[in-house]
């Protein structure tokens, strides 16, 4: 293969690869050890120093992935009722974007990306710049797998409901669109979307799952990623993708607000789908959730940043907000917003849980087969192949 045609990862792509590797390692550790992570005593174990009101509030900025926006907005409002001396400002940041912003000196005091995939790379870069560890404290806020979410009417109209990405590829390829798929020419083409793999953790995860599904393999190798048949299939799939968003939450919101005119289906985090299920009612009909197989977990870490700009009072304020997020009330609220709580003590199968109440939309607790960690080389070439396929 010539240099002109060989797939090459961009700098961002390389960062994503490192992010995936670090994250897969983290996830493996997380599920093998099965304990919540914390570098601080558990809430209530030791009384932390209170932030003293000093006439003006202690202000902290929290960088977060938009998939957690609604839960965190609730949390900020509730936290303000009990901690009026702490002012929390939410700053929406994608996983990579947040890391880059911190390295560039943006004064975030707490950082809550969609996953911990980028943690190791970020920490190494931070060490080089500041000669110190970047984190004063870390917690796992919640877990969530990937799902496909569809408008129920359209999902039901399909002669063969899609269960895999290969099924979706076949639907996208139908030249007459919904006319051929369900005798509904007024619905136009089938519009399926996922987040941008170079900008969003969920977009990259979608791409990884597509590759696994195409090859029907739990483990991916270079030969499979470079396979000409897969490259052709991926190019055709992505050509038919209706939209690429930098943000999973924003894409899901657009689907709910604009209905099937914008998207018939999306690949998103399970938490995002659940968070929007109730609000989607009474607009364009019900939603239907399916779990692509194989699947993968996304964790949602939160880090108190040990930065020079983060004063002791602000670190303490950030830690107190983190305590609030990890406390049972906020963890149960996270469950309401569709996350599987990071605190294993909060059950997800009890009454009131969305996994019970919203089960009719297709939610389920047990996951199908979960993928094994792909190598960095595999991810690099997968992402580069995607970039070449879509030209974006």
């Amino acid at each position: 293969m010539s240099d002109d045609t060989a797939p090459k990862a961009t700098l961002l792509g390389k960062l994503v690869i490192l992010l995936v590797l670090a994250g897969c390692g983290y996830l493996a550790w997380h599920f093998l050890i099965a304990k919540p992570t914390s570098t601080e005593p558990a809430p209530g174990a030791a009384a932390p120093t209170r932030v003293q009101p000093s006439g003006t509030a202690t202000r902290i900025a929290v960088g977060y992935g938009t998939e957690k926006e609604r839960w965190l907005k609730w949390a900020v409002e509730e936290f303000a009722k009990t901690e009026p001396a702490i002012q929390v400002e939410l700053v929406a940041k994608g996983s990579l974007e947040g890391a880059q912003a911190l390295l560039a000196g943006e004064q975030l005091h707490l950082w809550a990306p969609a996953s911990s995939l980028y943690t190791a790379t970020f920490a190494a870069d931070w060490q080089v710049k500041h000669a110190a560890t970047p984190f004063a404290r870390s917690e796992t806020l919640a877990l969530t797998p990937m799902v496909c979410v569809w408008w129920a009417e359209r999902f039901a109209a399909l002669k063969k409901p899609p269960q895999t990405f290969r099924d979706i590829a076949t639907l996208i390829a139908e030249p007459t669109g919904w006319a051929g798929l369900a005798g509904k020419p007024e619905w136009g083409f089938l519009k399926f979307g996922h987040a941008h793999p170079n900008q969003s953790n969920s977009g990259l995860m979608s791409l990884v799952l597509m590759a696994h599904d195409y090859h029907q393999a739990r483990q991916l190798g270079m030969a499979q990623v470079m396979d000409a048949g897969f490259q052709t299939w991926l190019t055709a799939f992505e050509k038919g993708v209706a939209g690429l968003s930098h943000s999973t939450g924003a894409q899901m919101k657009e689907m709910v607000l604009k209905g099937p005119s914008a998207y018939d289906g999306l690949c998103v985090y399970e938490s995002v789908a659940i968070d929007f299920l109730r609000n989607a009612q009474g607009r364009w009909g019900d939603l239907r959730v399916t779990y692509p197989a194989p699947n993968a977990w996304n964790d949602n870490p939160a880090y108190v940043i040990a930065a020079p700009w983060n004063s002791p009072a602000q670190r303490e304020a950030a830690s107190r907000f983190l305590d609030f997020l990890m406390a049972p009330t906020a963890q149960r609220k996270a469950l309401d917003h569709g996350f599987r709580p990071g605190d294993p003590a909060v059950p997800i199968k009890e009454a009131g849980s969305p996994f019970i109440e919203l089960a009719k939309y297709g939610l389920r607790v047990d996951l199908p087969q979960v993928i094994e960690q792909p190598s960095g080389e595999v991810i690099a070439n997968l992402l580069a192949g995607w970039q070449r396929a879509v030209g974006r």
Binding site: A92, L257, K258, S261, G282
Partner: protein, 564 residues
């Protein structure tokens, strides 16, 4: 082509498209609206939002509420100055630094995409980094309910093919059993200046190509597509820069003026909820081939004048707009809320001419290259115009540099007219004088521009006589397939005409069948102009009356050019 080169190529094309499309005023009257009228407190931190005029009523209402709350940033109450402009115009102004707004909110995301491309080319950074949609509204074909029913609505889904068939049918509405409605008269805004106009053109091209996505330049250049677009465009009454203006004129003029126009859904709802109600109910037709959304993205401007304090204030205001009470207010104004917490409900309903379950599908936004090709196609397929430019050269025009500025504006106006259009040129002082009649602009543009560029001022003001003479000449033009319009500029009251104003108004009144009328656009130029008289002349022909001075006369002429 390497991916990097391709990206650069696309960026260049995008920049060219921006320069082509949005270099002038659009979507709004030329004269910018006054800011929401509220005095800022003496100690206020005042920030400025410029926004697409389609949402003026809602935004002014909620901004008044916001200012009353005296939200504090850095110990100061935040005061928001909200200014309505056309979407293209506001982006142009902020990009150029003429308007140092803190927030922008055009009608659709296309303006943000294109503005950022232009900003990156100029400065290396975006104009607006992040946006939030504050309200939504689909682009629809607004049609009088009895007319829609004659087409089979709501039983049948109506699409662009139905519009074409009706536009081309020699019997017009008689082909649908309704001869009393005359010809099918259609309206949409100018695709080079207006969001909804461009979206209309793209929808026509898609329909002509039989596609809903993947549109290519080859599709655009297919003869069948040109025939399709031309077939619809020939039914157009006139173009324009403002979607809101079309809505007002359609609902005021009734079915005799326009059978249908491409508007935003909220304008249909607003009309049906208005007092007094229009002559018939209006319904929103969601074209069966698909449509586009107007989603009003709003974001903070990435420029040095937006200081840290101002950014904080802008964030507080944007957060306020997305809160439930403001989103519920948006719903009352006929917009679909941008907050998922607020359910779609009345007045997004059949009683107000809307269907909350529509649109069923949307059309894919094509590439910049395809958009440019579609615009080129439109220039050759659009309805031709015969424009009479009538300019006051009375002695008072010599004062304050008025004649010089008017010459510049008129020359620019002639430059914007299409080569397929025809021009008649008249000056008037003590008497009217033709400088040329029925001139094909393909060959006569340069000479006409030279004539206008050499005008001098002297004598009295025979306004009424000049307008009547120009009107009579256009009436005598046998071409029934052209937009016929007079553009008259005057800086003073009539002093010498034999024609009285009442006689003139009687002669130019098109009556109920106003769709094919000769429109008279008037410019009250300078502080001494007879603006009331000129307004009556314009409104009698359902055209637009402007006020202008030496500082903005070029913008006025450019806005008028969007009607043709």
């Amino acid at each position: 082509m390497l991916p990097g080169m391709k990206a650069i190529f696309v960026l260049i094309i995008v920049a060219i498209v921006i320069a082509m499309f949005w270099s002038g005023p659009s979507e709004a009257p030329v004269a910018p609206s006054e800011p929401a009228v509220q005095a800022a407190p003496a100690d206020a931190l005042t920030i400025r939002i410029v926004y697409g005029s389609e949402k003026q009523a809602w935004l002014e209402a909620v901004t008044t509420d916001f200012n009353a709350r005296r939200v504090q940033v850095a110990g100061k109450p935040v005061h928001v100055e909200a200014v309505a402009k056309g979407s293209g115009e506001l982006i142009d102004d902020v990009l150029a630094g003429r308007d140092q707004a803190d927030l922008v909110s055009p009608a659709s995301a296309a303006f943000i995409t294109l503005a950022n491309a232009q900003s990156r080319a100029a400065t290396g950074g975006d104009l607006v980094a992040k946006t939030e949609n504050v309200v939504l509204s689909p682009v629809v074909i607004a049609m009088w309910k009895p007319m829609a029913e004659a087409l089979g609505w709501p039983r049948e889904r109506i699409g662009w093919g139905d519009i074409l068939a009706l536009a081309q049918h020699p019997q017009g509405w008689a082909s649908k059993g309704q001869p009393q409605w005359g010809r099918f008269r259609f309206g949409h805004t100018h695709p080079e200046f207006s969001n909804s106009g461009l979206q209309t053109l793209l929808a026509e091209v898609y329909a002509g190509a039989g596609k809903q996505g993947g549109l290519t330049t080859a599709d655009v250049s297919a003869p069948a597509v040109a025939t399709f677009v031309q077939g619809i465009e020939r039914a157009v009454v006139h173009y324009g820069s403002s979607t809101g203006f079309f809505a007002k004129r359609m609902f005021a003029g009734g079915p005799g003026y326009l059978s249908a126009a491409v508007l935003y859904e909220n304008l249909v709802i607003e009309a049906n909820a208005a007092t007094p109600k229009p002559s018939f109910p209006v319904v929103a037709i969601y074209p069966k081939e698909g449509t586009f959304w107007s989603d009003h993205p709003t974001g903070i401007v990435e420029r040095p004048w937006v200081t840290g304090e101002r950014r904080q204030a802008a964030q507080a205001y944007l957060k306020f707009l997305l809160e439930r009470p403001q989103q519920e207010a948006a719903l009352r104004f006929g917009f679909r809320p941008a907050a998922v917490e607020v359910a779609v409900a009345a007045p997004i309903d059949a009683a107000h001419g809307a269907d909350p379950q529509e649109p069923s599908t949307t059309l894919e936004t094509p590439s910049a290259e395809v958009i440019a090709a579609a615009i080129t196609l439109w220039r050759s397929a659009k309805k031709p115009a015969h424009v009479a430019l009538v300019l006051d050269t009375s002695g008072s025009m010599e004062e304050d540099g008025k004649i010089a500025a008017a010459r510049d504006g008129a020359v620019e106006f002639l430059g914007l007219l299409n080569p397929g259009d025809r021009l008649s040129l008249m000056t008037f002082s003590s008497t009217p004088q033709w400088l040329g009649q029925n001139l094909p602009l393909a060959s006569a543009k340069a000479q006409s521009m030279a004539q206008v560029g050499g005008l001098i001022a002297s004598g009295k003001t025979a306004l009424n006589d000049a307008v009547l003479q120009a009107f009579t000449a256009l009436q005598a033009d046998p071409d029934q397939g052209a937009i016929k319009a007079i553009v008259v500029l005057s800086d003073g009251a009539d002093t010498t005409s034999t024609t009285t104003l009442e006689t003139l108004l009687t002669r130019i009144d098109p009556g109920p069948e106003s769709g094919g009328a000769i429109r008279i656009f008037t410019i009250a130029y300078g502080k001494d102009a007879a603006s009331d008289v000129l307004k009556r002349i314009a409104e009698t022909t359902q055209a637009k009356a402007y006020k202008g001075g030496t500082g903005d006369i070029r913008l006025v002429f450019r806005d008028i050019a969007t009607f043709f």
